[in-house]
């Protein structure tokens, strides 16, 4: 072997790429993440940014979600007036305003419900995986039992059971909202708990966790500093995939009339309100159904895209294409 010239010390050596950098690179390459994430971002900015107009009665805005004007009853979508861009419903309320306000509420419920599910699933999964033994056994059998309960019935039952407890604490509209996402969250954490537990079990037997234990680190520190960060990937993925489920669940509850109470809108509520008008074979007002459905479908699709793309990006072993 010849002596290397001095400058070769600084020559570009094949440096190992960190997992984070690799993930970032894959994220930039992923079309699904860009399109899905981009759409969601635009949707979020539109819905949240327009809240001052869609929720305030004072500004006398025709975008206000409950601004009724019978002269505009069933106005067709037209470009003249901003508030009539997507047409109006029977009471002459601007569909654009209602769709924007409803989007904020739908997305809010989805995110909060997913948050509840993550919190619960993470706690149970961590506890089961880390404690092991009978605690693990007990918790996982509980998850098994809860899996064999009918989802639909449980959401309604939990919602009704929780309602009076919260009604005393806050105004009824707020209580209804909180109960709604709590109920949806409380039935959506099971998969998360299973995934987290499995991940913890596999992490626990890894050399770096054993090393941390051998160094004498207390258990809570191992949990917080060594196990928890490694759970971020699966947790983010499942949280992203729980949001569309929760939004769909809310739309079902709205259809039953036990979701958000009118006149407050959500996309699900708008879709179920628009059902009769939109599908009326004699005098169809298709926009009342098409707009909320398109918004719902595109948003749910984007969320699924982002979730699947994140799965591919954060988990290098799974390089398959989804959907």
């Amino acid at each position: 072997m010849s002596v290397a010239p001095a400058e070769s010390l600084h020559s570009p050596v094949e440096r190992p790429v960190s997992p984070g950098r690799m993930a970032l690179h894959r994220a930039r390459e992923s079309g699904r993440l860009l399109w899905g994430g981009g759409f969601l971002l635009v949707m979020l900015i539109l819905c949240l940014g327009s809240l001052p107009w869609t929720t305030s009665r004072e500004r006398a805005s025709s975008l206000y979600f409950d601004h009724q004007d019978t002269s505009r009853s069933y106005a067709q979508p037209s470009t003249g007036d901003v508030s009539l861009l997507l047409g109006a419903d029977r009471l002459g309320r601007s569909l654009l305003g209602r769709a924007l306000a409803g989007g904020a509420i739908s997305l809010g419920i989805g995110v909060m419900a997913a948050g509840v599910a993550v919190l619960l699933g993470l706690t149970v999964g961590l506890l089961a995986g880390f404690a092991g033994g009978w605690v693990d056994n007990l918790l996982m059998r509980l998850v098994d039992v809860l899996y064999s309960l009918p989802y639909v019935l449980m959401v309604i039952l939990i919602k009704i059971a929780l309602e009076p407890a919260l009604a005393g604490l806050m105004p009824s509209q707020a209580a209804n909202l909180v109960v709604l996402f709590l109920a949806i969250g409380l039935v959506s954490w099971l998969t998360m708990a299973r995934v987290v537990r499995g991940q913890v079990l596999s992490l626990r037997s890894q050399p770096f966790v054993e090393a941390a234990a051998a160094l004498g680190l207390p258990r809570y520190r191992i949990l917080l500093r060594h196990v928890l960060p490694n759970l971020a990937g699966p947790v983010i993925i499942y949280a992203t995939l729980t949001v569309p489920q929760a939004i769909l669940q809310e739309s079902f509850l709205s259809f039953l009339g036990i979701g958000i109470q009118p006149p407050m809108p959500t996309w699900g509520l708008l879709a179920s309100e628009g059902l009769a008008d939109g599908l009326n074979p004699v005098n169809s007002r298709a926009w009342l159904l098409v707009v909320p459905c398109a918004l719902l479908a595109l948003t749910l699709l984007s969320l699924n895209f982002v979730g699947d793309a994140l799965r591919d990006i954060l988990d290098p072993r799974r390089e398959q294409e989804k959907l």
Binding site: V145, V152, E163, S251, C293, L296, L300
Partner: protein, 311 residues
Amino acid sequence: MLKFIAWRLLQFPLTLAAVYLITFTLAWVAPGSPFDRGERNLPPEVLEAIKQSMHASSAWEFLAYYPYNIIVNGDFGYSFNYEEWTVNDILAAALPVSVTIGLFGLTFAVIFGVALGTLAAVRRGSALDWLSLGIAIVGISLPGFVTAALLLVMFAVRWPIFPVGGFGSFREVILPGIAVGLMPMAYIARLTRVSMLEVLSSDYIRTARAKGLSRMRVISHHALRNAFLPVLSYLGPATAATLTGSFVVEQVFNLPGLGQHFVNSVRNRDQTLILGTVMVYSLILLTMNLLVDIAYAWVDPRIDLEEKKTA
């Protein structure tokens, strides 16, 4: 194998007991009693008599008597809401409707889902692939009440190929069956496509092709079997869900199925009917999961069921 089945069957009563306890607690915590109904309140003596006939004078008496009656007589007692009917009668009337429609929907979902997923994987990037994506979007990201109503308006009102509603003849099963099967079909197509892509790139498929077997034969005889496994594990919960009916589809097509009771029993605070519905659902789900596990071992002989038991 037999040992595995026996072990699982032994767990059934335990799981069902836990399901019962959870449901019972929730149903009793939920406010409102089926006996107070605003304006048409019954005189207190009559109410007391009804309660006594149901062993429901207090929650405690009910708590003791009710499970005994279920276990010994298989009897869920009278419905609290429809006083003339027993829960058993209600379930027995509704279940066949839901099962008929669910079976049709499930068959539809599996056949078309697997076919669509396979075609999408084989002709990746083609129009078929996009079609399967489109169907998956409709099935997964539109609320069920929209797809069911769309089907009704399209194929019963605009082009009256099928009857608008009701239950009796086979023609009346088709449309609600498709409505029930649409979402599972979308999931199955997705699952099949993903696992098919994975299987098709594996070594044994290349070997089979290299031996000179035709593409068709390799896909139908070699690849499909393995690609079907993820679908199979999805089929456990999916079967239980479709066989017990869908509230939305029953509402849209005006069917007397079981799905309505999942919603209405809670709305009416009909505690006995809530318990009956939940127990029937749980029993079907547990049975389906067991069947799926057995089928798993049959499709993929590498899977050792006995091992799963201890895990």
